[in-house]
């Protein structure tokens, strides 16, 4: 594994190399199936290959059981894509997390995103017991110590040295208390986060305000911040995200634009409405990427096109982010 750390890289992952070289990076999200069909991953991977720099694999997202993020991540490695496996604190304690991370490293996975996890009451096993032995900041710190000091959380040495991970964390600039959010980000950076992926940005003025504080605190120089975007699929989805998703803000402007996109198309013509909505969703997303690129401290974009991975190549190309740059080895050593 030592070769991965040559040139002073922490993990040698494609994402790390591109960030280090100062490129504006692009990541996207891939939701593993609610089943064990490898083909689902292969089909989605095909859409994303060469279009993004690394691919997030969600970990039982919204507390719904899906294929393991590490297993799905390994499939991506085999297909020549670079995974970012997501790891939540909801389902595993410190023993489970560390053992899974060692396994992930052995399978050639080099990026990990450390999350608290959505509460299980949102998912398909609401009667489950949750874990939360660690919180996401403690998780970041634990992974950083595993990597940098070669020790487990208990302080014992990891045989053969620490696993080379590029460590990510999430940030929600729109959660409350708003004034505390930049400080929480600072804690994640102090804990050892190398990159940050934000919640979907649908309120650009608010995001700018947040980023200004982040830049004033100098955090953008210590961590690569990837702003979250995602194409809206319908007026209903925009409204739902605005009104019903805790910790999410959607400016009315986007709801109105989605509504206007289908104005004049009869309700019965479902296919035409779908087309019009999706086209507008992609248009908004591309515009947002252009706006976000202009904001100081934004080092990249994270595209969350949930169950609509087909949209990702279109967005990346229309945003002028294609082809993707390469630095050093094009394919990660495994």
């Amino acid at each position: 594994m030592m070769e991965d750390r040559s040139n002073g890289y922490k993990s040698g992952s494609n994402l790390e190399r591109l960030i280090r070289a100062g490129h504006f990076v692009v990541t996207a999200e891939l939701g593993p199936p609610k089943g064990w069909q490898r083909e689902v991953i292969e089909r989605k991977a095909k859409l994303l290959r060469g279009v993004v720099d690394a691919v997030n694999i969600t970990d039982n997202q919204t507390a719904i059981v899906r294929m393991s993020s590490i297993a799905a991540g390994r499939i991506l490695v085999e297909l020549g894509l670079e995974p970012i496996i997501q790891m939540t604190c909801r389902d595993r304690n410190r023993l489970g997390i560390q053992s899974d991370l060692l396994g992930a490293a052995a399978l050639g996975i080099r990026n990990v995103l450390c999350l608290t996890g959505d509460h299980q009451s949102f998912g398909n096993h609401p009667t489950a017991k949750n874990v939360h032995d660690l919180d996401s900041i403690q998780l970041v710190q634990m992974v950083a110590r595993m990597r940098d000091e070669g020790i487990f959380q208990c302080g014992e040495a990891i045989k053969g040295g620490g696993p080379p991970f590029f460590i990510g964390a999430a940030a929600n600039p729109f959660g409350d208390p708003f004034e505390f959010r930049p400080y929480r980000l600072a804690k994640k950076v102090a804990a050892g986060a190398d990159f940050i992926q934000t919640q979907l940005v649908f309120d650009i003025p608010r995001f700018k305000e947040y980023m200004k504080r982040v830049v004033d605190m100098g955090l953008h120089e210590k961590v690569a911040i990837l702003a979250g975007v995602g194409p809206l699929k319908s007026t209903g989805m925009a409204r739902y995200m605005r009104d019903r998703v805790p910790g999410m803000r959607v400016a009315d402007e986007y709801v109105e634009r989605m509504k206007a996109a289908v104005a004049g198309i009869p309700k019965e013509d479902k296919a035409a409405r779908r087309e019009a909505w999706r086209a507008e969703g992609i248009r908004i997303c591309v515009e947002q990427i252009h706006q976000l690129r202009e904001i100081e401290g934004v080092a990249g974009i994270h595209i969350m096109a949930i169950e609509w991975e087909e949209a990702v190549p279109v967005i990346v190309k229309e945003a002028g982010l294609y082809p993707r740059p390469t630095v050093g080895e094009a394919v990660l050593k495994t």
Binding site: D135, N172, F180
Partner: protein, 234 residues
Amino acid sequence: MIVAEQKPLEEIKELIADAERVLIVGCGTCVTVCFAGGAKEAAILGSTLRMATRLDGHGKAIDEVTVQRQCEWEYIDPLEARLDDYDLILSLGCGIGVQTLAERFPDKPVVPGLNTVFMGLPVEQGVWEERCQACGDCILGLTAGICPIARCSKQLLNGPCGGSQDGRCEVDESIPCAWQLIYERAKALGRLDKLLEIQPPKDWSKSRDGGPRRVVREDLRLTHRVAEVAGGER
């Protein structure tokens, strides 16, 4: 205090189905204060069950008694004299009361009439909220006197998750977000600096995760004192 709620009547009927003579034992402490298992609730449950079992065609003999505290031997010992008249105890104490009775009266079946819910307080008339999970290593000194173990749905120690909005927890709008409360209070007290330090992983071995817990105070133990008075070794 310990907060409990009465079980649904149907469930209680199931629990006492095999018994002919039932003694309902209320408790005069926490569950009286939360209107779940005091003398008044025991009396109401008693007459409800007498009527219900009669209507079901199989009336049971049901009496009630309420002790001052069901979780101490000295308050429940006097019950022993009466127990021959009953084949089952329906406890309206918290889970501790039920077990204290079961431990003291090994020959008598004891069933719970309440669901013990949490340790907390009445925040207003008719509304109780959880405040402490007995984690065994109190961190209220770090969190502005508001407990994230009991009051944050994810037991976070380093600040709010991404789902906190308008002071409400992502899990349910009826739950105040503990971290919003901690932030506001720390800010008002000029103690925000405490929240900027990274809190390390918690030592859960001191909580229930370390197995059932026990507190021993040698200075208070009677056997110890007797030994000391007698000049025995410590």
